[in-house]
């Protein structure tokens, strides 16, 4: 009896719920669509959320646009952009410059055409980092922060070297003092780390991709087997014999060694400045001194891109205004760079940096090479890192000349397979 009663009641309840939802539902998507016309959605990572919020809402209130900031893990921003439904898609993303080739080839981001007055606010190499095109290159992002590795020198343990010979001598002398000491702490590990090793690679006149006449990167010109580099590669064998660098050192070994005073020299980036300060170490950051060529580091540039969804949402002009006109400016960049502990791309904002270590790391970027932003770079990382691992693993190491030549031929095969 009771059950029957309850069942009827339940049916009524369900029906009521359904009707209520039916009444509500059609208004919900419509309201959403309307709102999207004057709302800009930005995808950012957690670290930058607060700064992006602050900077973009200042812009938004001056233009009458509301800004919705959505947090994603940094690499997810790139990956999710490929699969996201237009309704949830962002109009603007925080991006790393080396995504440029992939996202542009996918057609997911819009080319930007700033005026000369905007362009001259950021250095050319930072703009080049965001430029891509198989024919004429276009700018796909506005550079905001720069990062690169430098040589951290513990000034209590060693003098800041002026030449490569001084560095080599001081590092080896320090290593000889104790069995636990490292000469130059630079992370590799079994998997390799082409990024941290790049100053040594460029110092021996190596490069990853050559350039076409038009100035864009040429994936069929592989610099791992360039004559000049292979000629210099015998130095790597010498470093391996001396124990100047060894691939057995991974990221935690390198960090521990420097923090415990078991290494006077450490190749790392701005993300470790706070760690070193907290350990109470007196240090100075310089660029690795010239070896055979300038030992320039890889540059990572972060910035903002406008997605194709801005067009779909009917907010393209505003999105471009935010990314091109506003984000290029000194004030916006200063705030964003400070929030992230990075060096700003904007030249004026760069001059305003007062943090000594950050200024030093900025100076260590001189002549730096943006990580290649073409999709073919995916074929390079493992091979380049692997060649270093093989040629610097101590006893039983492969001669560098053959390790790098093999890597170059593997890269050619991998790129050809696409």
């Amino acid at each position: 009896m009771l059950n029957k009663h309850m069942a009827r009641l339940g049916t009524v309840l369900l029906a009521a719920l359904a009707v209520a939802l039916l009444l509500l539902a059609p208004t919900a998507p419509a309201a959403h669509r309307e709102a999207s016309a004057t709302t800009i959605r930005i995808w950012t990572d957690q670290d930058r959320k607060a700064a992006v919020d602050r900077v973009t809402s200042a812009w938004g209130s001056s233009k009458g646009v509301s800004v919705e900031v959505v947090v994603k893990p940094f690499d997810k921003i790139r990956d999710d952009l490929k699969t996201v439904q237009a309704g949830q898609a962002p109009d603007v993303i925080v991006a790393a410059h080396d995504w440029t080739g992939q996202l542009a080839a996918d057609g997911l981001v819009l080319p930007l055409v700033p005026k000369a007055s905007v362009l001259k606010q950021v250095p050319k190499y930072a703009r080049d980092a965001f430029s891509y095109g198989t024919g004429a290159a276009h700018l796909y992002g506005m550079p905001v922060t720069l990062e690169n590795v430098g040589l951290f020198v513990n000034t209590r343990l060693a003098k800041v070297p002026k030449t490569w010979a001084q560095l080599e001598k001081a590092a080896l002398a320090f290593k000889r003092k104790s069995a636990n000491n490292l000469a130059i702490a630079v992370q590799q590990g079994a998997g390799g780390d082409a990024y941290h090793m790049y100053p040594f690679f460029s110092g021996l006149c190596g490069y990853v991709f050559g350039k076409t006449k038009g100035g864009s990167l040429n994936p069929s010109n592989i610099g791992l087997s360039s004559k000049k580099f292979l000629k210099n590669a015998s130095l790597i064998d010498k470093w391996n014999r001396e124990g100047l660098i060894t691939s057995k050192v991974d990221s935690s070994t390198a960090q521990n060694a420097f923090l415990k005073g078991q290494a006077a020299f450490w190749i790392t980036g701005p993300w470790n400045i706070d760690t070193v300060r907290k350990a109470g170490i007196k240090f100075q950051i310089i660029q690795v001194p010239k070896i055979k060529c300038r030992a320039a580091p890889f540059l990572g540039v972060n910035g903002f891109m406008v997605t194709k969804f801005a067009g779909t949402h009917g907010i393209e002009s505003a999105a471009k205004d935010l990314v091109v006109s506003y984000m290029a400016g000194a004030n916006a960049q200063q705030d964003l760079a400070a929030a992230n502990g990075r060096y700003p791309a904007n030249l004026t904002a760069g001059k305003r940096i007062t943090d000594t270590a950050l200024r030093q790391i900025g100076r260590a970027s001189t002549g730096g090479v943006p990580m290649p932003n073409i999709p073919q770079m995916g074929s390079v990382w493992d091979e380049l890192g692997g060649a270093w691992v093989k040629s610097t693993k101590g006893a039983g190491a492969t001669p560098a000349r053959s390790a790098f030549a093999t890597a170059a031929s593997n890269i050619r095969k991998k790129i050809g397979s696409g």
């Binding site: 359904a18 080839a105 700033p114 079994a190 074929s379 493992d382 692997g386």
Partner: protein, 538 residues
Amino acid sequence: MSTDAVPRQPTARVSAATAVGSLPTRLISTFSGPVGLAVKIGFLSIVNAVAIWSLTVLASHDKWIPLMLLAAATVAIDWVYFMRRAVPLKFLVPGTIFLIGFQVIPVIYTVEVAFTNYSTGHILTKNEAVKGIQRAALTQPPNGRTYTMAPARAADGKLVLVLLDDKGGRTYVGSDDGLKTIPRSAVRTNAHGQIVSAEGYRLLKGAELFGIDRQITALTIPTSGIRAIRAEGLDTAIELEPSLRYDTKRDVFVRVDDGTVFRDNGRGSFVAAGGQELEPGWRTGVGLRNFGRMIHNPLVRKPFVRVFVWTFAFAFLVVLLSFSLGLFLAITLDKKGMRLQRMYRSLLVIPYAVPGFLSLLVWQGLLNDDFGVVNRGILHGNIPWLFDANWAKVSVILVSVWLTFPYFFLVSLGALQSIPGELTEAAKVDGAGAWQMFRKVTLPLLLIAVAPLMIASFAFNFNNFNNIYLLTGGGPATDQPIAGSTDILISYTWKLAFAAGKGADYGLASAVAIVIFFIVATISTIGFARTRVLENVT
């Protein structure tokens, strides 16, 4: 498939069996009353609410077939749970929903992707790709003009751009008819150089401006030849010219300066006779091409056999060693009246309780050749655990055994207790030794319960991406591209699809995944057939 599906111990099964009469009946009686009904209505309301919301979303996207399927499914679910007769269905429905959601749909999706060119540069639809190419073809001509701009409406309501030439400072009003010069004095600018008013025109601001974004971005103001001025943002306009022309009728792109024709190559790209390709391309079906690449591309084919043999050896050895070690420990700790038995058992489960990725990273540190605890602290040796091809294989197997043996320990411990004491007693009476007893009585009985789990564990380890990727990353590198010494099929597939060619290649990855699926399915089927034989023996 996963090893974390620890089966209920047979001992528990026995006690549960005696309670069959009580517990479920009690549950049923509780849930037949008003409480149960309320819970049921609550759950169904949630299900219906989600369904109705989804229906409206589907309707707003004009997806009518999924909409009808969803509506039918929802009605069916309501019917099942309000009908007194459909008892078996009440139990089947949730399982079926999860099966469809987590197994069938991903499989269908994988198969579908395997027959497409879905990869970097082939994400969009063809229409979107054509638009993308047209956009990317717009370039700034040499000495092209740039303007400070403000969108405005003329007296007759027509949308125009008020323009101030950055060079020379002349002022214009631009519309789709072209440029019209207006006197500089008619346009006022502020300290930032932005246009704040124009005589005879009403500047657009705020909501009104954003409301017509599509018209503003579509507006082209012809200047000379194929050049035109376009808005770029809210206060800038740039003179651009297209380097490519899309011929709608022939469905080809033609390069303006030399007349090169780019044709649809049937695989999602516009390609010139010389091989040059326009970006972006689009996603399209390519038939069996991805499977063909596995056979024809030496990069895929050459390492395949080597990697396959190692994958098989890896999975087999991990299961065999883990089972042996787990069983050995289970027998050792099965003694009645042993002191601290519980503590030992708990300790042995620790590797299983710590999250796998954490253990793997810790092991990576422990095994470091020069600085790791294993070489420095324990062995005082110099074994290249991660840097030598063979030692790396040993490391991968050892660490995987470390992660897997507690599972077999638990399983064996349970299975041992379910073996009836009379059998071992009888064997003892017949004069069997300990080893004979183990070989002839314990092991066969144990295998009935454990063998299917060993096959599942084999299939799991066959695709154990995490262990390989986090410990060695597939390395150390061999001289062959892509496949390192410890790469198993799945990690090799990952590298093939995401670290070669031009970025990500989901189509190829799905095709290889399907092949791996058939390999694992074949091995498992043979394995299960053999366990059935095992059961017959007893």
